[in-house]
């Protein structure tokens, strides 16, 4: 159903470079056209193991498309993507299914499965990898939910949760498979400032405790400053500037300053 190889089966382990040594994630000259428009026009980005990089940029600039390339939901027209030591640029579905056990993603709208309970949502990714006795599975679900500050909601359906709770359940689902790389698509969008702060602290806390490599896509600058070790500004399909939160704050570049200060004139967006 997604834009990837159609073999569907699970082949042998992904071939390619051995893990370790290099960056956890590296994109080189990644280009993608959608509907005739160049959404990504040569993205270069490296993320070191254990690092949290925040990708910021205006709405529709291709941040979510960038994440979908990292996790194999889209394939680039040009360029190369390396993930955990493997060149995943032309990975087949089977090869992706092997590697995805080491990658998690929190979607913008949480993307919880409506027909399953919260507990089943959290356990689903684990179930396809190994069969656990019911008691162990319940303990795992309770542990992962507790890590995101939720208790006694495993039996509820996602429809009965608030937006913030859904995001936290999505986070619990993503960490249930114990990934090495975690991707966040607009984790604080649509949340009130207090809940956004809760999510930001969770991201930071998980990164510190579990040593995860994280890529966070957002246009919420408070979130970017709080969770990011580095921030990359995506503009017109390219990484326009990368730096620490302080460097971005102090940037003299009018485009970056305009974005981080929220001034529409400097971005040419007034019209």
């Amino acid at each position: 159903m997604s834009e990837q190889g159609a073999d569907g089966g699970v082949s042998g382990p992904p071939s390619g470079a051995r893990d370790g040594g290099g960056p956890a994630l590296a994109l080189a000259g990644v280009e993608k056209k959608l509907g005739g428009r160049a959404v990504l026009a040569g993205v270069d980005l490296e993320v070191s193991p254990g690092e949290t990089v925040v990708v910021i940029g205006r709405s529709g600039c291709g941040k979510s498309v960038l994440l979908k390339h990292v996790v194999g939901l889209m394939q680039p027209d040009r360029g190369r993507i390396q993930l955990l030591g493997h060149d995943v640029t032309r990975f087949t579905s089977g090869e992706w299914r092997q590697l995805r056990s080491r990658v998690g993603m929190v979607f913008q709208g949480a993307a919880l499965f409506d027909s399953l309970t919260v507990g089943e949502n959290v356990a689903l990714g684990v179930r396809v990898r190994r069969r656990l006795p019911i008691g162990e599975e319940q303990a795992l679900v309770a542990e992962k939910l507790a890590q995101v500050g939720l208790h006694d909601i495993a039996g509820l359906k996602p429809a009965s949760l608030s937006g913030g709770m859904k995001k936290r359940v999505a986070l619990a689902r993503a960490i249930a498979t114990e990934p090495e790389v975690l991707l966040y698509d607009e984790p604080t969008t649509g949340l009130d400032p207090v809940m956004a702060d809760v999510i930001n602290r969770l991201i930071r806390d998980l990164q510190r405790r579990l040593g995860l490599t994280s890529v966070v896509v957002t246009h919420d600058m408070a979130s970017a400053y709080f969770v990011g070790d580095r921030i990359a500004y995506l503009h017109q399909g390219r990484i326009h500037q990368t730096g620490t939160p302080q460097e971005l704050r102090d940037s003299a570049d009018p485009l970056v300053r305009g974005f981080v200060e929220g001034r529409s004139q400097s971005l040419g967006a007034a019209g």
């Binding site: 979908k68 995805r100 056990s101 993603m105 709208g109």
Partner: protein
């Protein structure tokens, strides 16, 4: 500012070129339609092949199959009962009218039974269940697509074809024949009601005709057709759900397309199968 790349409106062409331009526009439409037809057909074929390829994993997804069988079968029972009951009743009235003076009315039960087993039972059940279930499958998968739940499955290393499409397809192929047997029985009962209450036929006469003219092939052929229709309904719902684009409007469009495609293909498939199963050589 005028768009220089804009294609001129038809009335902006000189009169002598209007016919040529109309033909070009028409040809372009025909070309697009043919291309879209083959694109959809190819994609449906690939989806079907992938669903068949996922069949070895059936045991692992037993719960989803049972859930879908319940949704398709149990959920459709009231609708199927009403449709089948009145289909049988109408068949009795129409048959009596058409047979009057041609065939003795004691054969009424046989006419109703054979038309129900061969044609009315499988086709009407498929159209009714197809409308309800095809729409439901397309809406569910379409909503999952636009809310990124399908992407979430992929990221969790779960094949959406194996997890979503195959169980629905298997459930539809199993449940359509089951629902058809049910519909056949209710329709024959509806005919029995009309025959006994409206035409004063004795129950014995009606059941004798049923026994005398029952051919196992009528039943098995009808059930084969029902299984085939189940595959069409499941596949159309899953396919149009999986290609949903946009938000609520896209889901609505996918639902409509799934139902229309199911109904058309059920009728076309019925004709093809009728030729294969009941061809009479003169």
């Amino acid at each position: 500012m005028a768009d220089e790349n804009r294609r001129p409106f038809l009335e902006e062409f000189p009169p002598e070129e209007i016919l040529t331009e109309t033909a070009k526009t028409g040809l372009a439409w025909v070309g697009r339609t043919i291309l879209a037809f083959f694109t959809h057909t190819g994609r449906i074929g690939i989806l079907f092949a992938r669903a068949l390829g996922a069949l070895p994993a059936l045991r692992l997804h037993g719960r989803q199959v049972v859930d879908q069988m319940s949704a398709i079968g149990v959920g459709s029972v009231p609708l199927v009962v009403i449709v089948a009951l009145f289909t049988g009743a109408v068949a009795a009235v129409q048959a009596a009218y058409q047979l009057e003076g041609v065939v003795p009315l004691r054969y009424l039960g046989a006419v109703i039974m054979r038309s129900v087993l061969i044609e009315l039972g499988p086709v009407l059940t498929a159209l009714v269940v197809g409308g309800r279930v095809g729409a439901s499958i397309a809406a569910e998968i379409g909503t999952m697509k636009v809310t990124e739940q399908i992407d979430a499955l992929e990221v969790l290393a779960i094949d959406p074809v194996r997890y979503l499409v195959m169980p629905r397809l298997v459930a539809a192929v199993i449940m359509l024949p089951v629902m058809t047997v049910f519909a056949d029985a209710v329709a024959i009962l509806g005919g029995f009601g009309v025959a006994t209450f409206s035409f004063d036929q004795s129950p014995h006469t009606y059941t004798q005709a049923l026994k005398q003219f029952f051919h196992l092939k009528d039943l098995t052929s009808g059930l084969m057709k029902a299984g085939f229709f189940g595959a069409i309904i499941g596949l159309m719902g899953c396919y149009y759900g999986s290609v949903t684009e946009g938000g609520a409007e896209g889901v609505g469009l996918a639902t409509t397309r799934a139902v229309v495609a199911s109904c058309v293909l059920v009728l076309v498939g019925d004709y093809v199968l009728a030729n294969l199963l009941f061809r009479v050589s003169f």
